[in-house]
Amino acid sequence: MARPKKLINDPRAVVTELLDGLVLANDGRVKKLDGVDALVATHVPDGKVALLVGGGSGHEPLFHGFIGRNLADGAACGQIFAAPPPDTILAATRAVNRGKGVLYLYGNYAGDNMNFDIAAELAADEGIEVRTVRVWDDVAAAPPERMQDRRGIAADVYMIKIAGAAAATLGSLDEVVRVAEKARDGVRSMGVAVAAGSIPETGQLTFELADDEIEIGMGAHGEPGVARRKLPTADEIADDMVARLLADLPFRRGDEVALLVNNLGATTMMEMLIVYRRARKVLADAGITVHRSDVGTWLTTQEMAGLSITLLKLDDELKRYLDMPAESLGYSRA
């Protein structure tokens, strides 16, 4: 198979070089720490509960593109699709800590869990209070009774948005954790893959799909989903995905939600909007009100084609944090 085309230099230097670019693109609002692949906000106010996010690189703009006002204070960045090591996380923890504690927010994967846990233990040894909220929104990964076996996908966007706004507003780590956990418990996502992405260093696709096949529920790294089928129409796929999401929480008539459609990398905005439009119809028919929508590119897997749909159940408190302005390279809302 031909090596997928990428505009890169040394394949082993992609993370270093993308982080250099990300720092420059932030025009002074974000800096890289010496010796580790961690980025932090140039200014973190005194007395602020800190929000540290992170995970494997290669999913840009998540996670390191989400450092900014009312969002994350720092990000620990791993190699492509690989969790960051503990010393990177610890260095970022020290850099963002302002004495009010640090919330670790990241996707629920074995590698991230172990490395962030080790870092949290090392931080505790230094007297830094750390709490952890793992994002586990992918309904395709495990049944509801095994929620903690689900992996984190595009709900990362809403989780960082809400936890970031809460961390900027509330004075206590416990309160920020409470809000973040409420958001996590009310959010569900599902993805569909149309074509694979590749790892720059190996130059190989992470999975194979036939030209006329899609996989429903495929994970962000090509982890298999719930069903493989012939390419359906946009409306068929939206009907299927939204029905699975609604049944899982379950969402009920009268609920208010935020609706996010995320591009896995190579899908066109045209396709995204066509699927989004149908998702709105399914929700309207189910008696569910969409309080706000986000259609765009946040959690990618290189040139993987496909999209995911995320539904977040809202109450007045979550709405308040979701609606606060936010500004970062990867995600901004006025």
């Binding site: 090591p85 172990m114 982890e223």
Partner: protein, 211 residues
Amino acid sequence: MADALDAAATARMLDAAAVAIIANVEVLTAADQAVGDGDHGIGMRRGFEAARAKLAAEPPATVEAACRAVGTAVMGATGGAAGAVFGTLFRSGGAALAGRETLDAAGFATLLQTGLEAVMKRGGVGAGQKTMIDALMPAAAAAAKAADGPLAAATAAAAAAARQGVEATRGMIATTGKARTLGERSLGHPDPGAISMALILEAMRDVTARL
């Protein structure tokens, strides 16, 4: 055959294990593409290149320091689950060797057993879940049985048990890590982390057989 290794010889044995991982990056990549996302080989290469550099830059004074240096370098440079797991193996296993002048068969058995317990605790993973534990656990048991004999016999027994463990993972369904959602589709494929564990122990076997 070596009965025991001093700190410098232990460092050479660990360096040989690192060389084996680096030389097999494509084997590990292919194995991980079958059940995961294909980054195990390049991650392990990053980690064990860092381990080689650390051993060369700061020759360890004790067998404990040699093992811990490898664990720290691997944990710092590999990333992902592999970095946490193989880093913990050598850091915790190495710490259990504190005070030993040399690495003999009993020390080698302690390294594996203590490392095994630490990895299981860190990952919340047991036997039969299609992970490196399925190579390390039988290796630690084999080393414990051979703990009263020469080191070379213990490393040989551990390496053979680990390789059998790799083969056994073919018949297991992954219930942890990124391969978890493969379910029965993971059947027939060996676990990449288990292969790495066997490669490390086989390199140790080869070094101790020569000394």
